[in-house]
C-alpha cells in the first residue's frame, strides 16, 4: 500500500506494466514537442517578445517621452497629447500613476519600435481588446517592435496592481488605415 513500505524490499526491480510505460512515453514525447514548439515559434511565428532593454533613470526616460510627444503631437484629447509619429521613428510610451502617456496614433501594417517604461511603480501594459500583455518596470526601457494588424481605437489598461488608482489607469492607441494599399502589401510580405 501507499501508506506502508513497499511489499518487496527490492521494489526497483519490479517490472513496469505496459500501460504505465506507454503513457510515460506519450507524455515525454508530448513534452518534447511542446518544448520544441516554443523554439520553433521564434522562426515561424510573428509574436515573440523582444529582450532588448536598457537601464535608464526614470527621470531621463520621462524627459525622452516628453520630447517625443512635443515633437509629433497633432492634437490634445482630455489634456493628453495625441502623437502621430512618422513611420520609422522611435516611439516612447510612459506608464505612471495613473495613466499611459501620451496617446499614440499609428498606421495599420507599419512596424514601430515602441519603447516602454515606468517612472514610479511597476505597471502592466495591456492592449485591449487585442490582449497583448507586457510587464513594465521602472528603470528598464523595453523596446518592442510592434505592427498593428487592424485599424480602430484600442485601449491600454494597467494589469499590474499600482496602488489605489490602479483601476483608473488607461491609455489609448488609434490605428488608421490611411496607407491601405501599402500596408496590405507589407502585411502580405509578413512584416
Amino acid at each position: 500500500m501507499a501508506v506502508t513500505p513497499p511489499e518487496r524490499r527490492i521494489w526497483w526491480n519490479e517490472p513496469i506494466e505496459r500501460v504505465e510505460l506507454t503513457w510515460t512515453l506519450i507524455a515525454f514525447l508530448w513534452g518534447l514537442f511542446m518544448f520544441g514548439f516554443m523554439i520553433a515559434w521564434h522562426f515561424i511565428g510573428q509574436q515573440n517578445l523582444n529582450k532588448e532593454a536598457y537601464r535608464i533613470a526614470p527621470s531621463n526616460y520621462e524627459q525622452k517621452v516628453e520630447e517625443f510627444a512635443k515633437k509629433y503631437a497633432v492634437r490634445q484629447e482630455k489634456g493628453v497629447p495625441v502623437v502621430k509619429p512618422p513611420a520609422g521613428t522611435e516611439i516612447y510610451l510612459l506608464g505612471r500613476l495613473w495613466q499611459w502617456w501620451p496617446i499614440l496614433e499609428l498606421e495599420k501594417g507599419v512596424s514601430y519600435r515602441i519603447h516602454v517604461s515606468s517612472i514610479d511603480w511597476q505597471h502592466g501594459f495591456s492592449l485591449q481588446p487585442v490582449n497583448i500583455n507586457i510587464q513594465v518596470h521602472p528603470g528598464y526601457e523595453h523596446v518592442i517592435t510592434m505592427t498593428p494588424t487592424e485599424a480602430g481605437e484600442f485601449g491600454i489598461i494597467c494589469n499590474e496592481f499600482c496602488g489605489i488608482g490602479h483601476h483608473t489607469m488607461t491609455g489609448k492607441i488609434y490605428v488608421t488605415e490611411r496607407k491601405q494599399a501599402e500596408a496590405d502589401q507589407r502585411l502580405a510580405e509578413g512584416r
Binding site: 501507499a2 521494489w11 508530448w30 510573428q46 495591456s126
Partner: protein, 573 residues
C-alpha cells in the same frame, strides 16, 4: 538496534497508542502537534476564505461590494491567509503524519516543533495585523518599489522560519525511524511524497529568506534600493516553488486516501517514486512562469526554465495522473467491481467525503489547473494572459480545486483517526466536497474565460468609470465575472460547511473508541492492500486508459487553440 546508533542518539521511549483501524502506532506528541497545526490551518482558511468571498463579490460587476481601498486590502489578506498560512500549516501536519505516524516512530524533538508552531502563529498574526492596519495593501506578491510596513515582511519571515523548523523535524524523524528500525525496507510512497514536498520546501524557504530579509531591511530604511526585476526572479523562486510543495503534498494525499479507503496499492513503486523524483529535480524552475512578459530576459533562459527543463516535471504530474486513478481502478476491480470500463468508478464510495474530495481534486487539478498551467507557462502564449484574471483562474484550479480540496478530503480522515472524534452532521459532510469542488472549478473556469477576454487581475473597477480615457470590456467579460461571483458563493458555502463540520467535530464529535464503527468507514482490510499489480493475474485498466486519453485530447486541443489565438494578434518581436 543497540543503545547507541550511528548518529549517537540514545533511544528514547515516547508515549503512544495503537490505532484500532489501521494498526499504526500513533506517537502522542506527534498527534497533539498534528491537531494543533490542523486547527491553525482551518482557522486561517476560514479567515482567508471569507476574504476571498468578499473579493469575488466585489469583482461581480452587478454587486461591486467593497470600496476600492477595502478591496485591495482584503485581496492582500486573502492571498496571504489561504495561499500561505492555511496551506503550510496543513502541510506541516501532513509532514508529521507521514513521518512519525506512517513510520511507527516517535517525533523528533517535540518541544522544538512547538517552538516552530508558535513562530508560525506569531508570524501569521503579525502579517495579518499589518494588512488590516491598512498601509500594507501591496498584494501578496509585494512587488517593489511599492512598499509595505516592516511588520508585513517580518511576519512572513517569522512564519517561514517556523515552517523550516517543522521541515527539519520531519527530516530528523526520518533519521530516527531508520536508526531505530521502526519500519522495514524503504519508506512508504506517501512518506516519499512528503519527503519530496519537504525538499522543495527547503529550497522555497531559502529563496524566501534571500529576498524577504533584504526587502524587510529596505522597508526599515536600512537598504536604499531593491531592483524590481531581481526581486521578481528570487521572490518567485519562493512564490511558485511553494506551489510545488502543495502539488507534492496533495499527490501524496491522493495516494493515501486511495490506500486507506479502497486498499489501493501503487501500480509500480518505481514509476510513482520516479514521478516524485522528477518533481525534486525540475519543479523549482517555475520562477520563470512569472517572468515571461518581462524586459531583458533571454528567450533561451525563458524556454528552458518555463518548461521545467523540457516539461520533465509536467511528465511527473502526467504520470501521477495515470497511476493514481490506475491504482484505484486496480483495487476496485479486486474489490469485485469488474463490469465494463467504469463500474469501479461508479461504485466507488462517492458518499464518503474523503473519497469524493480526493477524486474531484484529481480531476480538477489535471483538467483545469494542469492544462491551463502549461498553456500559461508557454513562453509566447503567456503574453495572451499575463496578469489578466486568467492567472488567478489557473491557480484557483491548482490550489483551490486541487490542493485545498485534497486537504479537505484528508481532513475527513484526520478527524476520526487523529482527533478520534466521529464526524458530526454526516449528510452535510457528504455534500461538502461537491459544493466546494464545483464552486472552485467554476470560479477557475470563469476567471480563465474572463482573462481570455482581457479582464485584468487585481482590479477594482472593470467599467473604468473614474478613468480619464474611457475603455469598455465586452459584454461577455461582464457575464464571466458575474458567473465567477455565483460560483464563488457556491465554493464559500462549501467552505463554511467544511469549517463548521471540523469545528463541530473537534468540539462536540462523539469520542471514537475501540470497536466503534465509523460513519465513513476505511477499507475493510484495515491496513492490507487489495491490489497486487504486476503479478501474473494482472487486471487490465480500461477505465483509466479512457480517462487519460480524454485528458490528453483535451490538453492538445486547448494547447493549439491558444496558438491560434496568438497568431491572430498584432505582430511583435
Amino acid at each position: 538496534m543497540t543503545a547507541t546508533t550511528v548518529i549517537g542518539a540514545i533511544q528514547r521511549t515516547a508515549a503512544s497508542r495503537t490505532c484500532p483501524y489501521t494498526g499504526l502506532k500513533v506517537d502522542i506528541a506527534a498527534q497533539t502537534l498534528i491537531k494543533a497545526n490542523a486547527v491553525a490551518a482551518v482557522i486561517f482558511l476560514a479567515v482567508g476564505g471569507l476574504m476571498g468571498l468578499l473579493v469575488a463579490l466585489t469583482r461581480w460587476p452587478a454587486v461591486h461590494l467593497l470600496p476600492a481601498e477595502w478591496f485591495y486590502l482584503v485581496l492582500t489578506g486573502h492571498g496571504a491567509n489561504v495561499l500561505l498560512f492555511w496551506i503550510i500549516f496543513f502541510e506541516i501536519a501532513v509532514l508529521y503524519f507521514a513521518s512519525a505516524i506512517l513510520l511507527n516512530c516517535r517525533l523528533a524533538t517535540p518541544k522544538l516543533a512547538w517552538l516552530g508552531f508558535i513562530l508560525m502563529v506569531v508570524g501569521a498574526v503579525l502579517t495579518n495585523v499589518a494588512v488590516l492596519q491598512g498601509d500594507s495593501s501591496v498584494m501578496f506578491t509585494s512587488y517593489p518599489p511599492m512598499q509595505a510596513k516592516p511588520n508585513f515582511y517580518l511576519g512572513l519571515i517569522l512564519f517561514a522560519v517556523g515552517a523550516l523548523v517543522g521541515v527539519a523535524i520531519f527530516f530528523a524523524t526520518l533519521v530516527i525511524a531508520k536508526e531505530e528500525g521502526t519500519y522495514q525496507g524503504s519508506i512508504p510512497l506517501v512518506t516519499f511524497g512528503a519527503l519530496t514536498a519537504a525538499i522543495i520546501a527547503v529550497f522555497t524557504i531559502a529563496s524566501g529568506a534571500i529576498i524577504l530579509i533584504p526587502t524587510w531591511l529596505w522597508s526599515l530604511g536600512l537598504i536604499s534600493d531593491i531592483d524590481p526585476l531581481m526581486y521578481k526572479v528570487v521572490w518567485w523562486a519562493m512564490g511558485h516553488s511553494s506551489q510545488q510543495i502543495n502539488v507534492s503534498a496533495h499527490v501524496a494525499i491522493w495516494y493515501m486516501i486511495g490506500a486507506l479507503l479502497l486498499g489501493a496499492k501503487p501500480l509500480s513503486e518505481k514509476v510513482s517514486r520516479g514521478a516524485f523524483f522528477l518533481y525534486i529535480l525540475f519543479l523549482q524552475l517555475a520562477s520563470a512562469h512569472h517572468l515571461l512578459a518581462e524586459p531583458g530576459l533571454d528567450a533561451s533562459w525563458k524556454i528552458v526554465n518555463t518548461s521545467y527543463m523540457m516539461y520533465l516535471a509536467v511528465l511527473g504530474s502526467m504520470i501521477h495522473g495515470l497511476t493514481v486513478p490506475g491504482s484505484i481502478e486496480a483495487a476496485q476491480r479486486r474489490n469485485g467491481y469488474t463490469k465494463g470500463a467504469f463500474e469501479w468508478l461508479r461504485k466507488a464510495p462517492w458518499g464518503n467525503p474523503a473519497f469524493a474530495g480526493m477524486f474531484l481534486s484529481l480531476i480538477f487539478f489535471g483538467f483545469i489547473g494542469g492544462i491551463s498551467g502549461v498553456v500559461l507557462g508557454t513562453e509566447q502564449l503567456n503574453l495572451l494572459m499575463h496578469n489578466t484574471i486568467y492567472v488567478p483562474g489557473h491557480f484557483h484550479g491548482t490550489v483551490v480545486a486541487g490542493t485545498t480540496l485534497a486537504f479537505m478530503a484528508g481532513t475527513y480522515l484526520v478527524l476520526p483517526l487523529i482527533f478520534q472524534r466521529e464526524i458530526v452532521w454526516p449528510s452535510l459532510a457528504r455534500l461538502q466536497p461537491y459544493l466546494f469542488g464545483i464552486g472552485a472549478a467554476g470560479i477557475s473556469l470563469f476567471m480563465m474565460g474572463a482573462g481570455t477576454l482581457g479582464v485584468p487581475r487585481r482590479h477594482w473597477d472593470i467599467t473604468f468609470s473614474d478613468a480619464e480615457l474611457s475603455f469598455a470590456h465586452s459584454a461577455g467579460a461582464f457575464l464571466m465575472m458575474g458567473l465567477n461571483g455565483l460560483f464563488a458563493i457556491l465554493a464559500a458555502l462549501g467552505g463554511i460547511i467544511f469549517v463548521l463540520v471540523v469545528v463541530g467535530t473537534v468540539l462536540f464529535g462523539q469520542k471514537v473508541e475501540r470497536g466503534h464503527k465509523l460513519t465513513f468507514p476505511l477499507h475493510a482490510g484495515g491496513g492490507a492492500a487489495v491490489s497486487h499489480y504486476g503479478s501474473h493475474a494482472t487486471v487490465k485498466l480500461p477505465g483509466t486508459i479512457i480517462l487519460v486519453t480524454v485528458f490528453f485530447v483535451s490538453f492538445a486541443l486547448y494547447y493549439f487553440i491558444n496558438w491560434k489565438y496568438l497568431s491572430e494578434l498584432w505582430l511583435f518581436r
